[in-house]
């Protein structure tokens, strides 16, 4: 077995809501390896978003250790975390979170604006390449309000790709999309995974989870199940199935 890309040991997170202490995570331990494609599932309040924020270097754990690429992140300060987010993490959100009134390519190059080792020309080039990889090369200069929800999420994926992160984290990436568009997004994730990206997504929908390689189920801040996906589906074939009835209806 190679060394894990992400190693989580006895991770705990406690929120103080006034007098009451809320245990969002109660001792989570597991490893994520290179080229993994994991789907984290669980009810609301099960701690999956808190977990994602911690491994996304957006938040500190209350206790426990978190190693990213062999480095202990749990002791780092705010600026070091920002540096890690900039260089090693690609984050994708449910609500896309792309800048309004800003063209697709400018949105995509955003992380590199905070990376002083990348020059202007290289930054633009890499932004176009990232857009090409999500199939949006022709919409580079479109503004978000000229793009559909699925296209906006693809811009967000391109933005997460541009710094060649060691891991891509997606918090309910299909939560705001219809099923056809959801499958299209998952198709992109599957393609990226095949080409070597490590991906962790959080989802509510079991059918979306079926596109991943492994499923982890959270309940009350603990992992209750961690299993590989059997009968894994490919998003491209599901997309074709979705289209068939539509064609038949059209014929009738």
């Amino acid at each position: 077995m190679p060394a894990p890309l992400i190693a989580v040991k006895n991770l705990e997170k406690i929120y103080k809501m006034g007098e009451v202490e809320v245990h969002a995570l109660c001792g989570i331990s597991f490893d994520i390896y290179k080229k993994d494609f994991l789907a984290i599932m669980g009810a609301s309040g099960s701690g999956k978003s808190t977990f994602m924020n911690i491994i996304g270097c957006l938040d500190h754990p209350s206790r426990g250790d978190f190693f990213l690429d062999g480095v202990n992140v749990s002791t780092m300060n705010k600026n070091e975390l920002a540096e890690l987010r900039n260089k090693k993490i690609g984050f994708i959100f449910q609500s896309f979170n792309i800048l309004p009134r800003t063209s697709a390519v400018e949105n995509v190059e955003l992380p590199l604006l905070y990376n002083s080792s990348v020059g202007n020309k290289e930054r633009r080039e890499r932004a176009y390449n990232a857009l090409k990889r999500v199939g949006l090369a022709d919409r580079a200069n479109s503004l978000p309000n000229q793009l559909s929800g699925g296209q906006q999420q693809r811009v967000a994926i391109a933005r997460a790709l541009i710094n060649e992160p060691v891991v891509m984290l997606a918090d309910e990436p299909t939560g705001n999309l219809d099923s056809k568009t959801s499958y299209e997004i998952m198709e992109i994730f599957q393609q990226l995974n095949e080409k070597g990206s490590t991906i962790v997504i959080v989802t509510h929908e079991p059918d979306i989870a079926q596109f991943a390689l492994g499923n982890i189920i959270f309940k009350d801040g603990k992992i209750i199940s961690n299993h590989p996906v059997v009968n894994r589906k490919t998003a491209s074939s599901e997309l074709i199935k979705l289209n068939v009835p539509v064609k038949e209806q059209a014929a009738a």
């Binding site: 600026n79 920002a82 987010r85 979170n97 955003l110 905070y114 002083s116």
Partner: protein, 406 residues
Amino acid sequence: MRILNLIKVASRSLGKNKMRTFLTMLGIIIGVASVIAMLAIGEGSKKNIQDSISSLGTNTIMIIPGAITHGGVHLEAGTSQTLKREDAEAIRMRCENVIYVSPVVQKGAQIIAGSQNWRSGVLGVFNDYFFIRNLSVETGNGFSESDDRAAAKVCVIGQTIVTNLFGENKNPVGQMIRVERIPYRIIGILEKKGQNSFGQDQDDVILAPFATVQKRMLSTTNVNMIIASAKSEELIEDAKNEVIQLIRERHKLTPEEEDDFTVRTQSDISNIFGSVSKVLTILLASIAGISLLVGGIGIMNIMLVSVTERTREIGIRLAVGAKGRDVLIQFMIESIFISFLGGFIGVGLGSLISGLVARFGGWPISVTPFSVLLAFVFSAVVGIFFGWYPARKAARLNPIEALRYE
């Protein structure tokens, strides 16, 4: 490199909110423009007042015969007849700090030229009087010492006299006017001076050689007053003391006796006007300063609102790896840019306003480099000072909460 990127980020963000950027800038534009215009107007009014005072001659010293005492009752100044032509000549000879001196005799009279007549006064003066009063002869010549010695019947007249006796824009040099019974030949016309600050028409004047008026019209040895000019404004006090000393000596006054004359200088008057216009400038500048302050608070206001409004944007930036410092610098650049560009436009607008006031108000207004510098520095300081708080607020946002913000 990093700072260049942040400048790019800030300018994109400003460019995408042109209306908001402009409105924020408006406060600074108005503030700076009013500072520039108010300082220019204050400076202009000061110059205006100074000019009209110096047109009277700021170095002027007036020596007036003292009041006579009649049975213990003091009558008004000038009623005694103690000053003579020789006093004036002695001042000229012996007072080192006095450069020009002229005795003055005055006679009100009906002036007649052809079929026209006009009531005015004739002043008998030395030709030094022209220098003391800053008078210049526009056409023709002034009179000379030999005219005085000969008591020549010549005169120099002001524009008001020309207009009333000969009609507007006429050149009556060489023509004759009669003052009472005596015919005078006009040898020169004074340049137009207009009203002085006290509303007197300075062009309603006839100047003739001292001896002519004194001997031919008044038949007296007294003079109404002696007027003199100190070498410079700073020497007025010295000159005044010298004159007092000399005349006391000439009038053989013992130390116990009071002066039988009064000496007045014009520096007293100009001091009062100087302090009035200083107060005016301070008043205008503080009004302008307040408007600049309000403009600065406007920047802070909009930047604060903008931090709240852009919480999500800040969250996104933090999530993709911006450090708190990057966000701080971005917001600082935005507010500095707004205040600088606002300051720049404000200087332009302020100069324009000053120019318009100068053109339509006829004031000698000038925008000084100092006021431009002041306004610029002040607007930059305002930008930095009022931009700091919102920027720090933005930089301290927690990325998770910022992203969750609706």
